[in-house]
């Protein structure tokens, strides 16, 4: 049954005793048309689009933990498409277009709020580079503005531009279509709709083995039994190295810790998303009133999901440069996630050397914003066997071919991306 004001009223009359579980507890079959390892936003979106676009519902999604417990619910909820390289931009801009209608399609309020994304530049040189990026975005059909001085102050009245700073604010790239989406609702919304379509979503059920014979995928092992399948997708974010190793695959990436934190809730003060570029500090305020803060990675290989104070101090110092009033707030919660960052900083998408086994890995700390686009495109790849054009630049082979997609131009050093 759909969610609506009437369903809330109806259930209230029966003391809320008859709500159905959003995701059922299905019986595992011995074979599926496709298996998706990883029930995060990307995996569940792939399942949803397999059903919605291609009518394929004999699909299993394996989630090692619970829905909405992984990196999908550990990011800072920001969506945007302000990327320089055409390949990166097109994929994220396709996602930005999908976010707009997704709440209605999923019958689940994702609280998508296009409040605008303001990326601050701290020198004339940096602002010139931002102008290059804005022009590239405009050529791609997106809206982007460069604001300086009073125009920027008017766009973000709370921004402290007056007091002297180590990194003064020279201007900003503003993408008004960017904003925030409630991240855990994305996982729940996709999971519920995929479940309703007949797709089996298994929680607390990791993929524990990948059987390959003569270079072809045969089956996926799980604690609930063996699943015969000739198509599978690995979509497990920070566990990609371990899961790919089950099929004997190596991935060109490093896993690095990324932290985020929220303050206590206060009245509405900031209605946009602002990023301090000299070292990164992303600041936005949730509808509930908490300030959400995030920054760069911790900068070294780690699977610990435990942050270092070093980075917390950095991110907060930068946030205070922009918004000195934040110094009065206390941090309420703090968390970390494992980000898989490839050698060129961009994701690894599509077929692997194992026939039938696809991969969606290496999103680093940029994966959330691409969720619906990846679901849409990966579903097409699984359904048709053809690599969609949007995904082609991100193929697994590109590292050996020297065709890296390096937005930052930082080279094969994942901790610098």
């Amino acid at each position: 049954m759909g969610y609506s004001a009437f369903s809330i009223l109806g259930h209230a009359l029966t003391a809320n005793k008859h709500w159905q579980a959003a995701v059922g507890t299905p019986q595992m079959r011995t074979s599926y048309d496709a298996v998706i390892i990883g029930g995060g936003g990307h995996g569940l979106a792939t399942a949803y689009y397999l059903a919605q676009q291609h009518g394929i519902t004999n699909v299993a999604v394996l989630e090692a933990g619970w829905i909405g417990g992984g990196n999908t619910a550990r990011n800072t909820t920001i969506v945007r498409s302000d990327y320089l390289l055409n390949s990166s931009f097109r994929l994220k801009d396709f996602a930005l277009g999908l976010w707009a209608d997704l709440s209605r399609d999923l019958n689940f309020n994702l609280m998508y709020e296009p409040r605008g994304y303001v990326d601050l530049a701290h020198s004339d040189g940096e602002l010139e580079h931002f102008t290059l990026r804005a022009n590239a975005m405009r050529l791609g059909g997106a809206d982007a503005q460069i604001l300086t001085g009073d125009a920027l102050q008017e766009r973000v009245p709370e921004l402290d531009m007056a007091s002297p700073k180590r990194f003064p604010i020279a201007g900003a790239l503003v993408q008004e279509a960017g904003g925030v989406v409630r991240h855990d609702a994305v996982a729940w919304g996709f999971a519920r709709k995929a479940s309703q379509a007949g797709i089996h979503v298994f929680q607390n059920c990791p993929g524990t083995g990948i059987k390959v014979r003569d270079g072809k995928l045969q089956a996926i092992e799980t604690p609930k039994g063996r699943i015969a399948c000739d198509k599978a997708l690995i979509s497990v974010a920070g566990a990609s190295t371990q899961v790919a190793a089950l099929a004997g695959l190596e991935l060109p990436l490093n896993s690095i810790n990324v932290q985020a934190f929220v303050t206590e809730p206060v009245k509405p003060a900031l209605d946009t998303v602002v990023n301090y570029n000299a070292g990164y500090s992303y600041v936005s305020q949730t509808s509930k009133g908490e300030f959400v803060l995030g920054g760069a990675t911790d900068g070294y290989s780690s699977f610990a999901r435990r942050g270092s104070f070093e980075r917390i101090e950095d991110v907060l110092a930068r946030a205070l440069q922009m918004f000195p009033f934040l110094s009065r707030l206390r941090l309420m919660r703090h968390w970390s996630g494992t980000a898989d960052i490839p050698m060129d900083g961009n994701a690894i998408l599509g077929p692997t050397p194992v026939e039938g086994l696809m991969i969606n890995a290496g999103w680093g700390y940029a994966g959330f914003k691409a969720t619906p686009a990846i679901g849409h495109q990966m579903a097409e790849l699984l359904a048709t066997g053809q690599m969609p054009e949007l995904l082609q630049p991100f193929a697994y082979e590109r590292f050996a071919l020297g065709a890296e997609q390096d937005d930052a131009g930082a080279g094969p050093y994942p901790w610098l991306h």
Partner: protein, 83 residues
Amino acid sequence: MLLIPCPFCGLREESEFTYGGPCRDLPAPDGQADAAAWSRALHMGQNPRGPLRELWYHTSGCEAWIEVTRDTDTHEFIQGSQT
């Protein structure tokens, strides 16, 4: 905050160091290794969940490159040495 065992300066805070990444075992530059071997050495197999041999540069200290083995799961340093 990591406390990194520098062989010259003892245990020092992470903020004094610059990360140099996992040690890469590159083929000898004698023209014998093919492109695939170079690509593999540059890109693959540097991401264990457990002990990792890696490089740090003691930027605000003795300015030496040091090699340490650190557990990526627990952040425990297993050994440190000079490179």
